[in-house]
């Protein structure tokens, strides 16, 4: 019997991500209710067309969740192939990490796409303070991008841990980062829905 092993090893990081998800959900709920209240009594709310690019970005992000699912399966298989050891004598080969890196690239492309979308809007003269709709658009999308950047860092960290010899806890790092990434995906879908319906 192990100490402190009421739950499986590596669980704290997974619990941590779940708590983080709760926090982020709560804060976006706060922004959402702020948006509803602000729009409710507004005479100055000017709707605007979302840049088409956002739909393409959405596809990129959805694809990245898919590739990440592949990556996790692939990496898990590679690990188990090594005689069921809890430990890796040498790190995973780049070929075993391809899907993970594709995910990373897709994530970075998404951020680049968001940047382009913001530039398109500023090109139309829509800035942060132009009107409440654009204010909320920038606040929500920028905050999502910042949170997603955290996810990219998490995946990159998992990548560095998998490349070197290590224990199964590297796998749980990947698992936690994956959970967070999928949540970012879901959060983005929610934001797209909100922006489409409300802005």
């Amino acid at each position: 019997m192990h100490t402190a092993q009421i739950t499986a090893p590596g669980a704290p990081s997974r619990t941590g991500v779940w708590i983080g998800i709760a926090t982020i959900t709560m804060s976006f709920a706060a922004y959402t209710s702020a948006l509803m209240v602000r729009q409710g009594n507004a005479t100055d709310w000017h709707r605007f067309e979302l840049p088409r690019l956002l739909f393409f970005n959405t596809l990129l992000l959805l694809a990245s969740s898919a590739t990440l699912a592949f990556a996790r399966r692939r990496i898990g298989e590679s690990w188990n192939a090594r005689a069921g050891s809890d430990q890796l004598a040498r790190g995973l080969a780049p070929s075993e990490l391809t899907w993970l890196r594709v995910t990373l690239v897709l994530g970075i492309l998404f951020l680049g796409g968001q940047l382009l979308a913001w530039r398109q809007l500023t090109g139309q003269g829509l800035y942060l303070a132009s009107n409440p709709a654009s204010s909320f658009f920038y606040v929500l999308t920028v905050l999502h991008a910042l949170h997603l950047l955290g996810g990219i860092i998490g995946l990159a960290y998992a990548d560095t841990r998998l490349r070197v010899p290590g224990t199964r806890s590297a796998l749980s790092t990947l698992g936690s980062a994956t959970l967070y990434w999928h949540f970012m995906d879901v959060l983005w879908l929610y934001l797209m829905f909100l922006l489409l319906v409300r802005l």
Binding site: A22, S27, V139
Partner: protein, 602 residues
């Protein structure tokens, strides 16, 4: 299973079963040991030190305010030198008074009442009480403190900007807080720093709450079921869940406020405002939105301040009563109920805000209902005192004092929870008296109880009991003399946030204001006894044994002070609840856990 070579692990830890558990080895070097430490005990002490600095600052600010209220035409010695413009000749300007008030409230609520009982003691004690070597995420934990520290620096920096420190109160109601310097002195850069500081503070507390929750859920040692956790840990756990929700709403509110101030958005500023003869370039914002977001955080914040005190009292009282706490499961249920209800009552701060009058009656009901679980807990404490063989040590005295002041503060809540009475008492000193008792003084008594109780564990030395008792009795008299008369003032219609009461219907209250000021200065002076005791005992106090109070919980199974990994490479196995006091025979208590050396192989 061996730990990962990637993790630096100390020799005594090398055969520890679970490397993910601690994640760091014994600290090396001054910076790693004392400054950027990953050790929850160091971080807890850092939080407490920060709270000590903050509470001293906040207290001095309150002295200045009280002095000015009682003696508006007498110069404060030295103040004219410190602030030659804001207090020429030592007599403060109205805006300096408001700045002191704003900073007093902000410092006390955020940097004392949140950091000390929750982040401070929680960090130090919670991992030990659940039998863990450290928090779940030591790096986040370190960040949590240093982020909070930066927030404090940013707030204090507001004292030194040319436009003056913020004057919009700790609640920073928009649009006063959002308009910028047109609205008056102190509302320029100082107010921006305030908003930035609170936003940073939120990040720090979110990181802390995350750690508390994950540690409680995942790092409990063998046999430590949830129901065997000490009530202090339960309270910190519940507080961290409240904090997680509360601060994740305050953070967005602050971000939107900052954007209104610096980026020209109109989240909280409506159109058509003429400030300082200038039509403001804003439109459509909602001042009530700020109030809703703020109080959605603000009311639970009251429980963030006070629930750790509930936990500390529930934990400490049985130790000195030498009998089990009455109904520990009921206490837990009540804490959960309070935590839940705390999110349904925020509107009672806004009865007169122009919000729909119907919702006032809706908010009034849960506000009154939340007194039921609070009353149950108080009665359970009183029932625990019944038939006890009380050992009247200083921590025990502060626990008993806590019960008394919490009752006093809680009962005035009956008045304010009713919208019909609030129409009269809102915005008067009755409210000031109420919240100082219930969240200020009561929480401070919890902090004092915790300090006198855990000091021997933290520093390996006992505090002086004579000084401690003197401190307790004088403080108890002092706080009652300070805050009880505020209720009388409120009944007489004396409004708050005024820097002078000299020339209106409130002039008659001046004698009572003088009495309060005397009492406040006295209470403040009495705290010197505490400071002296703290520093003297740290250096010269008698060496503390591992378990000076004959308490049962895990922190008393290990040396004072504990080794860096808490259990010295051994594993605590929990076989009892924390409440096994007053059993027949000697000793009259059963320790929660036994420590075992690790088996060679798991």
């Amino acid at each position: 299973m061996d730990p990962s070579p990637a993790l630096s692990v100390g020799p005594e830890q090398a055969h520890r079963v679970e490397p993910a558990h601690s994640g760091h080895g014994p600290p090396r070097g001054f910076f790693r040991k004392h400054v950027f430490s990953l050790d929850h005990k160091v971080i807890g002490r850092q939080y407490l030190d920060l709270a000590l600095i903050a509470v001293a600052t906040g207290m001095v600010l309150s002295w200045l305010m009280r002095f000015h209220l009682a003696f508006p035409s007498s110069p404060v010695p030295g103040l004219g030198t410190v602030a030659p413009t804001a207090a020429a000749g030592g007599i403060m300007t109205p805006e300096l008074y408001l700045a002191l008030m704003t900073m007093h409230g902000t410092i006390m609520v955020f940097f004392v009442l949140t950091t000390a009982p929750f982040a401070g003691f929680g960090n130090y004690v919670l991992p030990i009480q659940v039998g863990a070597e450290d928090m779940a995420f030591p790096r986040f934990n370190m960040m949590s403190f240093w982020v909070t520290f930066v927030a404090f620096l940013v707030l204090i920096a507001a004292f030194f900007v040319s436009e003056g420190p913020p004057i919009s109160g700790w609640t920073a109601y928009a649009p006063l807080s959002a308009l910028g310097k047109d609205a008056g002195p102190g509302l320029g850069l100082g107010q921006t720093l305030w908003a930035v500081s609170i936003a940073i503070f939120c990040v720090g507390q979110l990181l802390g709450s995350l750690n508390f929750i994950a540690t409680t859920l995942d790092l409990r040692t063998r046999g430590m079921t949830l129901m065997r956790m000490p009530l202090s840990t339960w309270a910190w756990f519940i507080t961290s869940i409240i904090g997680l929700i509360a601060f994740s709403v305050l953070l967005p509110a602050c971000i939107l406020l900052i954007l209104d101030r610096v980026a020209g958005t109109s989240f909280f500023i409506p159109g058509g405002l003429v400030v300082s003869d200038r039509l403001q370039p804003h439109e459509g914002g909602s001042p009530l939105l700020w109030q809703h977001l703020f109080w959605f955080f603000g009311h639970p914040e009251v429980y963030i301040a006070i629930l750790p005190g509930f936990g500390i009292v529930s934990h400490i009282l049985p130790v000195f009563a030498r009998k089990p706490l009455l109904g520990p499961r009921v206490v837990i249920a009540c804490l959960v109920a309070i935590g839940f209800l705390s999110y349904t009552v925020w509107g009672h701060h806004m009865f007169l805000s122009g919000m729909n009058p119907l919702s006032a009656t809706l908010f009034s009901v849960p506000t009154l209902v939340i007194t039921i679980p609070a009353t149950i807990v108080v009665l359970l404490w009183i029932g625990t005192v019944y038939g006890a063989r009380m050992r009247f040590t200083t921590p025990a005295l502060f626990c008993l004092g806590f019960i008394s002041v919490f009752v006093s503060g809680g009962i005035s809540g009956f008045f304010l929870a009713q919208p019909s009475i609030d129409t009269y008492l809102h915005g008067t000193y009755f409210v000031v008296g109420h919240f100082h008792f219930v969240m200020g003084v009561a929480a401070m008594f919890g902090i004092f109880a915790g300090t006198y109780f855990w000091f021997p564990k933290m520093f390996g030395r006992m505090m002086n009991e004579k000084l401690g008792k003197l401190h307790f009795f004088l403080t108890l008299i002092g706080v009652y003399c300070t805050f009880m008369p505020m209720h009388y003032l409120g009944l007489a219609g004396n409004v708050r946030r005024y820097s002078a009461f000299t020339d209106d219907y409130m002039a008659g209250s001046l004698p009572l204001h003088k009495f309060i000021t005397m009492a406040a200065l006295f209470t403040g002076a009495v705290q010197l006894i505490f400071f002296i005791n703290l520093f003297y005992s740290r250096l010269r106090g008698p060496i503390a044994p591992a378990n000076p109070w004959q308490a049962t919980s895990l922190e008393w199974s290990i040396p004072s002070p504990p080794p860096f990994d808490n259990f010295g490479g051994r594993i605590p196995t929990v076989t009892h609840g924390p409440n096994e006091y007053g059993i027949e025979g000697q000793p009259d208590y059963i320790m929660q856990a036994t420590l075992e050396d690790l088996p060679e192989h798991a």
